[in-house]
Amino acid sequence: MTDEREITLTINGTERTLEVEPRRLLVHAIREDLDMTGTHIGCDTGNCGACTVLRDGEPIKSCLMFATQADGSEIMTVEGMEDLPESDGELHPLQEGFHEEHGLQCGYCTPGMLMAGKALLDENPDPDEAEIREAISGNLCRCTGYQNIVKSIEYAADELAAQPATDGGTAAVEPGSSADVAANAPGTTGDADGPTAADDADGSDQFDGYDTEGGFSCGVENCCGGPSTDAEHHGDNA
């Protein structure tokens, strides 16, 4: 066996020191060493997102990181939600949303969904549906079909917006700090601002009408099941 190393994590606001082998995954350290089993493990491949936690505020998959790599950082898991000011000692508006809108069935994916939702709302308090779907695109749910998960996050956004901005509340993030993941989407980028070569030329010089915007959409919302927003912004469904 290799040497153990001492690391310090601030988990949900509490500093904890633990001894881990270098090969110990962060998710195992959280579940087994710290005994916080709210964070789930759903796959071996980094695909499912059930293990999503916030590391220094950023969502990451804790099964794709060694515990030693999280040394010195702040980790937030689902167990920390009730202690947030916007929860007022009870369910966090996101958790309330999942309850009210039936955002879960078996609950396996839920802790990861909550963390992905939290990261989104911290950055962008008023996300549109495409932004919500983008934010949870790394989280798989076998049960719900995602519709109600989206509604749950919308519910939380509305709740948080309705809350009075209390002192020190993390709920009220300045509007305009939005990450705008989907809105930033490509297709709007110009690479060079040089003169347009064809401007002064005749029609034969012009790029004659190839439709590059040809995203395919079958017209049925969510027919492919996944939290996909691609058809709208990348036209990559050839």
Binding site: P59, E134, G190, G226, H234, D236, A238
Partner: protein
């Protein structure tokens, strides 16, 4: 499954990392870990030593300098996605970043790690091909640059030496009348490409194509260059017919395998379509006005 035990090093400077890597027997570099950690868990990789480069702050950059867009070994997918410089000047990079994996993985995974992984399904390799990019490798004999065409050998295999690490990936900064784009077909959000095409065009003052670059994802044993299509484009004026012909040539040069996502002929057809689309966007971004022709 758990990774097999390994010895773990965390250098905090590049020079430290280089001498460590030189002194160790077959060290494995850990960057974002988004590909390596699963490989260790499945024990597809069983290194004795892992050198974690995440503490080397001097490798964390994404900027333009000396005529290049330079991405240090710790530049993450999310850094590219969030960069205004990229949004303003690098169409293909801006197209690709939000299409790589998912938000959590983009927060950790690096551009350089993705290139070093040499997965034919990786997106960044194709973009570097389209842009005639290169990587900078540091090793016991100092630094050398490796053109991207000389880097990929086989799936998951590069021409890097055992005691070398990549410090930077870079592409030339755009000139006037340059445009680039990336199009990717995938089964669902967050997936690797079923097929992907990166295109870059530079036009001359007359509006003819001076330089064309096309890189293809997931349709050969490595990220691949569509050289015949590039040759066909150079010297010509952008047009739908021209791009259609280039698409056909790219498809001919691609070498996809049939799998559960589609058979080879379907993927070849997709290469054709994606090439046309990527060229169309690249041309527009290079300043060519798109004209709707009514049949």
């Amino acid at each position: 499954m758990k990774a097999a035990p390994f010895e773990h090093h965390e250098p905090t400077s590049l020079s430290q990392a280089v001498s460590l890597i030189e002194s160790l027997d077959e060290p494995t570099i850990l960057a974002g870990g988004q590909s390596l950690v699963p490989m260790l868990r499945f024990r597809l990789a069983r290194p004795d030593t892992v050198v974690d480069i995440n503490g080397i702050d001097e490798l964390d950059y994404l900027h333009e300098a000396d005529g290049y867009l330079k991405m240090g070994a710790l530049a993450r997918h999310a850094d590219v996605e969030d960069s205004e410089l990229i949004t303003e000047r690098y169409g293909s990079f801006a197209d690709a970043a939000p299409l790589v994996a998912d938000p959590q993985i983009r927060n950790r995974g690096t551009i350089v790690g993705s290139i070093a992984q040499a997965d034919p399904k990786g997106d960044w390799g194709s973009i570097l091909i389209a842009h005639d990019g290169e990587v900078v490798a540091a090793g016991p004999d100092g630094e050398r640059t490796v053109p991207i065409d000389e880097l990929f050998l086989l799936p998951y295999d590069t021409s890097l030496g055992e005691n070398e690490l990549i410090t930077e990936a870079r592409v030339p900064t755009p000139v006037e009348r340059e445009g680039s784009a990336y199009h990717k077909l995938k089964r669902k959000t967050g997936d690797y490409a079923m097929a992907g095409v990166a295109a870059r065009l530079i036009l001359d003052e007359d509006g003819r194509i001076e330089t064309a670059g096309i890189g293809m994802t997931a349709v050969d044993i490595t990220n691949a260059r569509a050289a015949d299509a590039e040759d066909h484009l150079e010297g010509e004026r952008p047009s739908a017919d021209l791009f259609e012909a280039a698409g056909e040539l790219a498809a001919e040069q691609s070498n996809p395998e049939s799998d559960e996502h589609g058979d080879a002929s379907y993927k070849e057809r997709m290469v054709e379509v994606l090439t046309q689309r990527a060229l169309g966007d690249a041309a527009e971004r290079a300043g060519v006005t798109k004209r709707r022709v009514t049949p």
